[in-house]
Amino acid sequence: MKDQSVAVSTAASGNLLKNKFIGWVFTSGWYPGFFQWLTVLVFLLIMYLLLLGPTSAHDNWGTALTWVLWWPLIPIIFVLAGRFWCNVCPFGKLNDVVQKLVGHNRPVPLFLKKYGIWIIDAVFIMITWGDHVFGMVESPWNSGVLMLMIATAVVATGVFWERRSWCRHLCFLGGLSSNYSQTGMLALRGTSEKCAECKVPYCYKGWEKVPGCPVFEYPRTMNSNAQCNFCGHCVKSCPNDSLTLKVRLPTSELWFVHKPQFAAAFLAAVIMGIVFLQNFTMLEAWKPMLSWLENAFNTDSFMVTFTVVFLITLPIPLALLAFTSFVAQKFNGDSLVKNFTRFGYAIIPLDVAGHIAHNLFHLLAEGKAVFLTGLAFFGKEVPDVSNALVDGATIQILQYALIALGVAGSLFTVYRISKSNYTGGKTWATVIPYAVLLILFGIVNIALFSLPMMMRL
């Protein structure tokens, strides 16, 4: 409980909802609809471009908007504004619309509540594999088909199950954002004194004018921003003005995770593997490596060779985390699984940093493509200039700085988790093996970012 009060006190600033403008936005009838319809319009344009626009990714504005602009920005948004993106996501809006029209609003099946996060983990891994094998990013058509598949799954879940079941239990990006937004700088909470007196649970269930929480959160007892998407429904519904929106220290939520989930820790380690894999396959050394593998396996099938690399690379961080947990259990007496689950969360800051650093390359080395392909779409003459916004050396320095920040954030998280669970010598004895692991992950990231990389477009 002491730690909890510390966590609350880390929310350094005041209630942002008291700010005239922010308060007005959150209570406005136009929020979040205005932003949602805006993203729907942009999404429709992107879908048109991906499915019916230029066949080459290099010339397709939809590809540039999706993979050069949106995808690199998304982890940054999770850090700055938690799952705000999920609030305005066009797939979420599609879910809302079909649900309103024909929704059965059936309860979410128990198996989804229990195992949804594992489905998310599996889909995330499959999409990463599919991206490489089928060339999702490199082909506008394939990117468009992926979006259509997601849209179909959203419709199928939205018409039968209540609220945003897809976003909460099945969306692979939702799983990623749930992990990342715990490092986020914004926290929405109920005021415990006011909520204790409350006799109406409108914030959870909604009422005739305002829907309930779309992601099944109950602000009265909510102690994590892993799911909240800042839709503001609870702010509008609460008769006691109980909700607060505060700025907090990045990563602070990870210091006191009340019910750590094994699957979330598993995903954190998997994401580290994916960051390694994505960086590795973008290296100029990847092609010769691929040729070597083709000879070694006597095949010219990219699917076979990539799958081999995939199956080797992805479990490495998982195995290292398991080994470190095995070492840590000798010092703190808790089981391997408990250590894995508890300290797996400490990888998340480095995951976020690695993810942003990787995509920073695409954003800054290919960022101009967003404007140039846009010019071409409007029939303007495209100047023959480089797509880079800044030079490679600057990008590398930013990448190193991000990884350093990520390592620092992860190390401090390990320390805080250990401190809140163990006393005396056990605290540091637990910190040291995980610190070694995190520094190793940091070094591998730095090594990969120091090598020349290929462009996305």
Partner: protein, 225 residues
Amino acid sequence: MTDEHITGAQFQNTEGCSVMHDISRIKARTRTPRLKGYLNIVTGLAFGLTLLLLLVGQAQASEESSGTSLKKEVDGYKVELVFTEGKAQTGDNKLKIELHDAQDQPVDKAKVTVTAEMNITAAKGTESSAKKNTHGASTQSPERVKAVELKAGHETGEYVGQVKFHDAGKWNIKVTFVVQKQPKSATFEADVMKADASKWYVLWGFLGVNLAVIITAAATRKKAR
């Protein structure tokens, strides 16, 4: 905090919270088993169809990314023309030429150009490619693609570029390369498909499945409630 976590225990200390019972859950429990079974079948069918489309989409994606190649030999030189994004189709097409000499060594630093001309005799029914007079003779020159000079690719002996076909049908693609100041050329016949034809099947398929799910949900909603 998921809804299953909001248990009665949390509300026992809050007066008047009987309203907290999840009405939708009560409704779900009181549905007749027959209707529940029917809904489960519909849900299963919807997911089945989605899965089917996923497979169709993946197959399509796989086909798109596999590329097609044509080979010819000229004076001992092996020339391979590859449409890197799949089959040739109307619109922009990325292509790659691979040049190897008689010893099967890649030919470096060659000047490679590509021109293309529609094969009128084979272009049946492509009105825009060659207008015909009343006797069936061509009155216009066939569609042509201006000479495109290819750039060196990633690998030695590889040359890449892009050509645009305006019409579907048979096209003669002439690859000219200059090696040791000697120009040589190879002509390939490629069947250019109309772009988007297969795409539209996929798009209509997705639309159909989504509409089917929505219509089924609408038809069963009243009963379910």
